[in-house]
């Protein structure tokens, strides 16, 4: 049982690392493939705020818990 919990926490850490996209990288790719303005706005705003969710997920899985 304890082993399972460790596995899940490690998975959450990995997910938190890969899920939070970077604002500028998203913008660069969006410009290259020519996405509509509104999609770019949403992507930029999302990547600005998603760090908060990612940090919370990381905190949630941290061993100090």
């Amino acid at each position: 049982m304890g082993f399972c919990r460790i596995r899940l926490a490690a998975g959450i850490v990995l997910g938190a690392v890969v899920a939070t996209t970077d604002a500028i990288a998203a913008t660069a790719i969006a410009k290259r493939i020519g996405l509509p303005r509104r999609i770019v706005d949403i992507l930029e705003g999302e990547s600005l705020v998603n760090d908060a969710t990612g940090l919370l997920a990381l905190e949630f899985a941290s061993p100090s818990w």
Binding site: I6, R7, L8, A9, A10, G11, I12, V13, L14, G15, A16, V17, V18, A19, T20, D22, A23, I24, A25, T27, A28, I29, K31, R32, R38, D41, I42, E44, G45, E46, S47, L48, V49, N50, D51, A52, T53, G54, L55, A57, A61, S62, P63
Partner: protein
């Protein structure tokens, strides 16, 4: 004293006094900064009866000497400058000007932070390309034996690196458009990220069986 005469030549006559004043400020400011910095380095060693060990001073003065030697090399060896410039042009063949030294510094800073500074308008593509080169170069370097394993305290990232990055990203964000798309943005930023985290957590069990991502990469094993 020679530097005051030299710098006056670089500016129009009416700015000479101001340039010299700025240089003077730099002289004294830098002297204070150096003293403070040497104190910071020395403090890293434990003190005994109010004294710091000899090694602390050796490290501090050695660091200062190394910095000065590097600066002297930078100015005294012109081919080094042209070499770095060539290297830079290699990485950024599309828009780099030959005298773009500020850009060179910004590139190094951006490589260290893995996020480009938004100093060039519309050049994010080239910036992203160079970023990839820097990441791959760093990755390859880590495989070279003998290179020390640098460990970084996560607090440094959270308290020093992340705030200015988020601040600059927030600074260039159009808040009118942000408000207009608020619902979509919140759904993606909280819902999608949570969903992705949960999905990766569920699937990583099978994909990376037997590997604990928290060990080594992020926290010390407890």
């Amino acid at each position: 004293m020679l530097s005051f005469a030299v710098i006056a030549d670089y500016f129009p006559k009416e700015f000479a006094a101001r340039a010299n004043g700025a240089l003077n400020l730099l002289h004294f400011g830098w002297a204070f900064t150096m003293q403070y910095g040497i104190g910071l380095v020395v403090e890293q060693w434990p003190s005994q009866d109010g004294h710091y060990p000899v090694a602390a001073y050796q490290a501090a003065f050695g660091l200062s000497l190394a910095l000065q030697a590097a600066t002297l090399t930078w100015f005294a060896v012109p081919w080094l400058r042209s070499f770095v410039r060539q290297l830079y042009l290699l990485f950024a063949p599309r828009h780099a000007g030959p005298d773009d030294q500020l850009t060179l510094v910004a590139t190094a800073a951006e490589g260290a932070s893995l996020r480009p500074l938004k100093v060039w308008n519309g050049e994010t593509n080239a910036v992203a390309d160079r970023r990839i080169v820097l990441v791959i170069a760093g990755l390859l370097l880590s495989f070279v034996p003998g290179i020390p394993n640098v460990s970084l305290n996560p607090d440094v990232i959270f308290l020093v690196v992340l705030p200015p990055l988020l601040y600059s990203a927030a600074w260039v964000t159009s808040w009118r458009e942000f408000k207009f798309n608020l619902v979509s943005i919140c759904m993606l930023a909280f819902g999608l990220v949570g969903f992705t985290v949960a999905g990766v957590a569920a699937t990583s069990k099978w994909v990376f069986a037997g590997f604990d991502w928290r060990l080594g990469s992020f926290w010390e094993p407890w």
